[in-house]
Each structure stands twice: as structure tokens, then as C-alpha cells.
């Protein structure tokens, strides 16, 4: 199960052991182990309520696990807020929670990390130029850094979030259902952006219901069911049919 076995040169980026998460009486995550190497692309699947969102929220600091340990680059860490996970270089791209629709691209990319001069005043020119560069870097060409996010398509919005992660030198990017509700063309764009992440040496955790999307980019697939880890397989050791069978069995069983 250790991906280090097949590639002894790959370095472990994130390791979580014995994670338990409760919401009141609901045991959302039950003794979950999870790991991902630098530059690795892991697909996280499982039916609704399996615990996928909860797991990534623990990684990104939005929730705190009641039990378990987290290691980043071999050192034990405590992630108790989004600030902590961001400091480690973990960026999360949520469905609706990543961008502010009425703000410009420039303001969104630098949200919370604005470049400033003395007294905290914005370096607008720097923001505008660097945000356009960040987008071009992943192959997204947009008119101006001042157009609002609400004018962009779903695929373009994901592009902005991903460009932001790359720009701030994320080491791990978590994508929560990035291709949901997108057209075929947009899905292709987004998957290409995700490939850009890989080319930049950034590890990716990718939650989705669409197994075909996972198969086109993931190295490894982790299946969750009812809060537990059901399987952890390398893509080359399985296929879409077997995987969906596994998930289905997990849901019923």
C-alpha cells in the first residue's frame, strides 16, 4: 500500500494516521489513514456521505480531527485553522467557497495575501500584472485582471483558483468536485489545468464522482465509504468498472 515501494525516490508530503472526526454523535471519519507524495495525483472517491469532504476539510484546517496525527514532510504538524494549512503550502479549491463572485480576478487571486506598500496600501499594478501572469502560466488567457469572477465561465473560475494556488507556490492543492456542473469543453480545460499543477510538481487531491475524470489524471485512487477507507489502489492496478463495483459494494455493505 505504500507508494514509496514502487518509487523509492518519491518523497512523502502528507501523512495522516488514525484520523477520527465526530460531528456531535455522527462519526464522520473512522480511523482513516491517508498519504500523498510530492507531485502525486490522488483521486478521492466514494459515495455521498462517505467522508470525502470532511477529510479534506481536516487537511485544510476548516475542521479539526478529534483523534489522529498529521505529518507534513515527515514532521508532525497541528492544523487548527486554514491559516495553518496555508502556511504549510496547502491550498483548497472548493466548489463555491474559493472565489468572491463580485470581486475582480486580481482581488481574488490576492485575497488575504495582498501585496502592499507601507501602511498596507495595495500595490495595484503588481496585483494586476502578476494575476495576468499567473493565469497565462496555466494557459488561461483572459481580457483583464479587473473583470469580475461572475462574468467567467465555470471552467475559467476553476482556472483562476488553480492559477492562484500555483502562484503562491502551493505544495498540495485539493480540488473538491472541480468538474461538477461543467460542460464537456470546460471539463477538458479544467483537467488540463490540473495537469499543469502536476507539471509544476504540485501534489493534487481530487474529489469527484466521475471516475472517468479520475482515470484521466490520477496516479492513485482512495475510496472512502461510511467514514472508513475502503481501498487505496494505484490506477494501473484497476479500471473504471472494477472501481465503480467497489464503491457500490461499499455503499451497500
Amino acid at each position: 500500500m505504500l507508494s514509496n515501494e514502487s518509487n523509492p525516490n518519491s518523497k512523502e508530503l502528507l501523512k495522516m494516521t488514525g484520523i477520527h472526526k465526530y460531528f456531535g454523535k455522527v462519526h464522520s471519519l473512522i480511523n482513516v489513514d491517508f498519504k500523498i507524495d510530492e507531485g502525486e495525483n490522488v483521486g478521492l472517491v466514494g459515495d455521498n456521505g462517505a467522508g470525502k469532504s470532511t477529510l479534506i476539510k481536516v487537511i485544510s484546517g476548516y475542521h479539526k480531527a478529534e483523534k489522529g496525527k498529521i505529518y507534513f514532510k515527515g514532521k508532525e504538524v497541528r492544523i487548527s485553522s486554514p491559516k495553518d494549512s496555508r502556511a504549510l503550502g496547502i491550498e483548497t479549491v472548493y466548489q463555491d467557497q474559493a472565489l468572491a463572485p463580485d470581486l475582480s480576478i486580481s482581488r481574488n487571486i490576492f485575497m488575504g495575501r495582498e501585496p502592499v506598500v507601507a501602511l498596507g496600501f495595495l500595490k495595484k499594478k503588481v496585483m494586476d500584472e502578476e494575476s495576468m501572469d499567473a493565469l497565462k502560466n496555466i494557459g488561461l488567457y483572459l481580457k483583464s485582471p479587473n473583470i469580475t469572477i461572475s462574468t467567467l465561465s465555470g471552467g475559467e473560475r476553476q482556472g483562476v483558483s488553480i492559477a492562484r494556488a500555483i502562484h503562491f507556490k502551493a505544495k498540495l492543492v485539493i480540488l473538491d468536485e472541480p468538474t461538477a456542473a461543467l460542460s464537456v469543453k470546460e471539463v477538458r480545460e479544467v483537467l488540463e489545468f490540473v495537469n499543469q499543477l502536476k507539471r509544476n510538481g504540485i501534489a493534487v487531491i481530487f474529489i469527484t464522482h466521475n471516475l472517468y475524470h479520475i482515470f484521466s489524471i490520477a496516479d492513485r485512487i482512495v475510496v472512502l465509504s461510511h467514514g472508513e477507507k475502503l481501498a487505496d489502489i494505484k490506477k494501473k492496478d484497476t479500471n473504471v468498472d472494477d472501481l465503480s463495483e467497489l464503491i457500490l459494494r461499499g455503499t451497500i455493505g
Partner: protein, 331 residues
Amino acid sequence: MKNVENRNKKFLGSFINVSSLGAIGIFLVLITLLAIFIPGHNFIRPDNIKNLLSYGAEFAIIVLGAGLLMIAGEFDLSVGSVLAFCSFIFVKLFSLGINPFLVAIITIICGAVIGMINGLITTKGKILSLVATLGTMMFWRGITVVVSGGEMMPSDTSEFKFFTSIFNGKIKNFFPSQALWLILFAIILGFILHRHKFGNWIFSAGDNERAARSMAINTDRVKIICFIIVGLLVAFVAIIQTVRLAAFSSRSGTGLELEVVAAAVVGGTSLRGGKGNMLGIFIGAFIIVIIKNAFVLARLPYELTYIAFALMIMFSVLLDLLIENSRKKFV
């Protein structure tokens, strides 16, 4: 609409957007109509303009703060009650013979503390600001009436000439100092909102609080600071008003919250937060002031203004909904 927005952004920079252009338009149309149609040209008489600038500026100062808070996604309905309470504090302390500058500082601190309480109830108490400040509105009004006995109290600061001129003076016997304070606050808050990182946090917190939080912005702190700014400005205006009227009235500020929200909304501030600009808020305030003035000059009962402002707010909500729905169709 997309192209118009982009062109405007290029021409006019970061301080304006489409909706504030609307406000400027309404403003120009209004003053033209009033200048022509109010009988006896009473509208454009220097006396009237002087008065407008005085209490108009007082009103507008509060709208600046309230608008900022609305962009952050919260409301403060307690402004009218806090105005009355701060006015009472000022008059009471001044009547004890304390130096008016010291009294002013204490009053302003009171305003800040009251604002902070509003902020804490909303963010830490997790109560909708609309509800929380409805409660504090009643609370502070109640306290004010009880401690003042519901009566008016005179307060003459005229022997402190310098103090009085700061808050209610006139430059060249025309331009009121209130208007100067308004311009100063508008410039400061405008720069903070549009050119400072804290302004970006205000917009972010109001537009998508979850996104802001996941980008490690402390949205609670941002909102509390905005509430404190409102409290500070309300206290400041309370001092100005008390000096100008040379009295305290426990009824002062009644209905203010409605007018303040209407002003911000007319100025292009979204009721849902995340959208708005300082210029629009500034103009929106004066539109409301002018409408009130028009009603007075036309000898219409001031209760009618309540109807006018309520309709403006409702219209703005509907417009907002329409835009939201049409946006959903495109995306």
C-alpha cells in the same frame, strides 16, 4: 452590461462602478428638478443650501460608516438610538463642568465601545446583525429615555469658541465644518475601502465569507472593526448635532436607520454585501437629504418620507434579485 462595466472600470478607476453612476445621475436630475419646481426657488437659496450642507453632512458621515459595514455584509439598525444615547452622554458630562474636549473624547470612546458590542453580538454570538442591532436599537433608546427622563436638555457650548467652531463652525460664513469633516472621513474611508488591503478584506468578507475565511482572513475581526467605525462616526455626529442644536432630545435619531440604509442602497451598495463604493455612498446620502429637504419645502408631512425610503429599499431589493436571476441564466 459586461462591456459597459469594463469600459467604466478603465476610464474611472477603482473608486466608481456602474451603480454609482446611476446615483450621480439621479442626484443631478433631482437637484435640477428641485431647483426649478420648488416654489419661490427656496431650494437654491443660500440659506437652504447652508442648512443642507450642515445636517446633510452630519447624516452623510453616518452613512459612510453604515455603507462600509453593509459592504462587509452586516447592518447596524441601532445608529439612531446610539446617536441619542451619545448625545445624552455628551450633554450630561458637559453639564458636570468637564472640559468639552475631554467630554468629546469620552463620548467617541462610548460610541466605539457600543459599536464593538454590536460587532461581538453579531460575530461571536452568531446572531444576524439585522436582528442583533434591532435589539440594541431598542436597548439604547430605552436606556436613553429612562436616564434622561424623556426630556430635552439644553447644552450651550458657545463659551468654548474653538470647540464649537470645530464641530459647528462656518468657513467664510457659508461652508460648514461638518462638510469638511465629511470630506475628510470620506477620503480616508474611501482610500481604506478601495486602496487598502483591509478594504479588500471588507469586500471579500461581504461577498463570500467562506472564501475569505478559507483564505485565512479573520472575517469576525473585519466586521467588528466596521461596527466600531460606525460607532465612532455616530458618536462624532452626536457631538456635532448636540453642539449645533445646543440641546439633547431623547427623540433624536428616530427613523435614522431606515434613511441610512436607503441612502447606502441608492448609492449602489448591495444589501447582500460585497458590492458598493464610497462615492456612491456619499452621493446616496445627499440624495436622501435632498429628498427630505424637498418634502419640507413642498410642505409635505415628513412621515411620507418613510414611505419614499421604504419603497426605494424594496425597489433596490427587487432590482438586486432580477440581476441575480439574470446572472444565473448566463452562468
